[in-house]
């Protein structure tokens, strides 16, 4: 292959990638070039906020935090919030390894404690939401699953990894119900969205995810409730990290999550208010 053809192939590939992400790239550019004006929201302080922060948030917060981030940016023009969504365990590990993150929102208290213990959290973490677990099945529930006990011999069951909060909670719920699913029929997702995808996209017959993820999946799954005496409450703390480059903006975002507007978004997505 000639040099010219190789280069041509390279440029064609890059051009395709640029074209594919053209729309989002364009809106991003317009967002950042917008002149900062004074915010009209109730939470604004004296100086108008501007700049960028990175928020690492549990995968179960994907939809609600995306909405909250957009609303926050709208209320504070000139700001930009970038999210990383993954399992809380992966995210806390990344932060321990030095990832440049301003705000961390965890799906459990254990992973937040890891950062608090390492001295990486500024101030006290604030609990902003709670969540519960639910069984998801294929649409129409073809296997006729009615309870956690039915999962023991239904086929391939999708659970989160044992070190991912949703996997740990699922384990607790199964233990509460006195149910053991043989490990040979459990596929483990690296975060709750991957766990859900094994049911919606793959051939797992059922899975255990958060109520909020089942709601976000819509018609792609049927849900089977887990009784309160077997269910587990997941508690979500959020905190500004000591390594933040913009403490004012990071604190403003954390406050916004707990504000009326933030709480309304979370409630709409199926989260429970903090106890």
């Amino acid at each position: 292959m000639s040099v010219r053809r190789s280069l041509l192939a390279l440029f064609a590939g890059i051009a395709l990638l640029l074209a594919a992400c053209g729309s989002s790239g364009g809106s991003e550019a317009s967002d950042t070039t917008k002149a900062p004006s004074s915010g009209g929201g109730a939470t604004t302080t004296e100086a108008p906020l501007e700049g960028e922060i990175t928020v690492s948030a549990a995968a179960s917060l994907t939809e609600s935090f995306t909405d909250i981030g957009a609303a926050f940016e709208e209320e504070h023009p000139g700001t930009k919030v970038t999210f990383t969504f993954d399992s809380s365990g992966t995210l806390s590990q990344q932060i321990l390894d030095g990832a440049p993150v301003d705000v961390f929102a965890s799906a459990d208290e254990k992973n937040m404690e890891k950062l608090t213990d390492a001295g990486l959290v500024k101030g006290e973490p604030a609990v902003f939401a709670q969540n519960q677990l639910v069984i998801v099945t294929k649409p129409g529930n073809p296997e006729g699953i009615e309870s956690l006990a039915d999962l023991a011999d239904a086929g391939i069951i999708s659970l989160c990894g044992e070190d991912v909060p949703c996997g740990k909670f699922a384990g607790e719920a199964l233990e509460n119900a006195g149910v053991t699913i043989p490990e040979g029929s459990v596929t483990r997702g690296q975060n709750v969205k991957a766990t859900l995808a094994a049911v919606t996209e793959g051939d797992a017959v059922a899975g255990i995810v958060y109520v909020t993820d089942a709601i976000a999946a819509g018609d792609a799954v049927d849900t089977v409730a887990i009784p309160a005496d077997e269910n587990v409450i997941a508690t979500y703390p959020v905190a500004v990290l000591t390594d933040t480059q913009d403490a004012a903006l990071a604190s403003a975002f954390v406050d916004y999550v707990s504000s009326e507007e933030g709480q309304a978004v979370l409630e709409e997505r199926g989260f429970l208010p903090p106890a």
């Binding site: 365990g89 992966t90 590990q93 391939i156 999708s158 990894g161 044992e162 070190d163 490990e183 040979g184 029929s185 459990v186 596929t187 483990r188 997702g189 690296q190 094994a198 996209e201 793959g202 051939d203 797992a204």
Partner: protein, 254 residues
Amino acid sequence: MLLAAVVALLLFALPLIGLLQRADWGNLLDDLRSPTSTAAMRLSIETSLMATVLAVALGMPLAWVLARTDIPGKAAVRALVLLPMVLPPVVGGVALLSAFSRRSPLGSWLYDVFGIQLTFSPAGVVLAEAFVAMPFFVITVEAALRGLDARYEQVAAGLGASPTQVFRRVTLPLIAPAVAAGAILSWARALGEFGATITFAGNIAGRTRTLPLAIYLQLESDPESAIALSLVLLLVSFAVLVGLRDRWLGGARR
């Protein structure tokens, strides 16, 4: 120039050194003997060997057709064969899922008629590994076939050997080194497969959790084991390199 070359070399060397210095050498054997590690290793060895057998059994005729026949649309066929080499493995996994999941026409037919479910099964791991590994075998063997002087085969045929006999007694011995090299390459690629496997076959302990999946999962819960397993794969890679030294490291004969 020299400085840039040193930087390039460091780019390769530093991660390896990092891996070696982070390893917990004292407990290495214990980490490798843990049930999760041994289960992943056994599964990886079994599935990668089966994927290699599949790649050789199916890749050999394909390489022969590409090298020796004049079928129409050969460029398109070759492009199709080589695509998995440049395709991101996770895309391969999504593609396999689209073709063989129980909700796809082919997948549901396999399940309804034969009771075969490839997703979330060791067979699915083998399929995903063969998908990404077979191209390495096909291009290696095809190149060898093309480089072969066709007159040997013609003479053998002229002396009355059947096409099968010609292939077994003349062609195969002549391309044997390439067949071995192609098989080793595919095996190494199959052993390292991650993206297509986790997407298509899931992550089930003892059934579809191969070494790379175990490394990824244990990096959070048990980093020492993850590093120990990484060292195993590093060692295997070195062994492959040593095995192929005549081809790649400027051996005397080539």
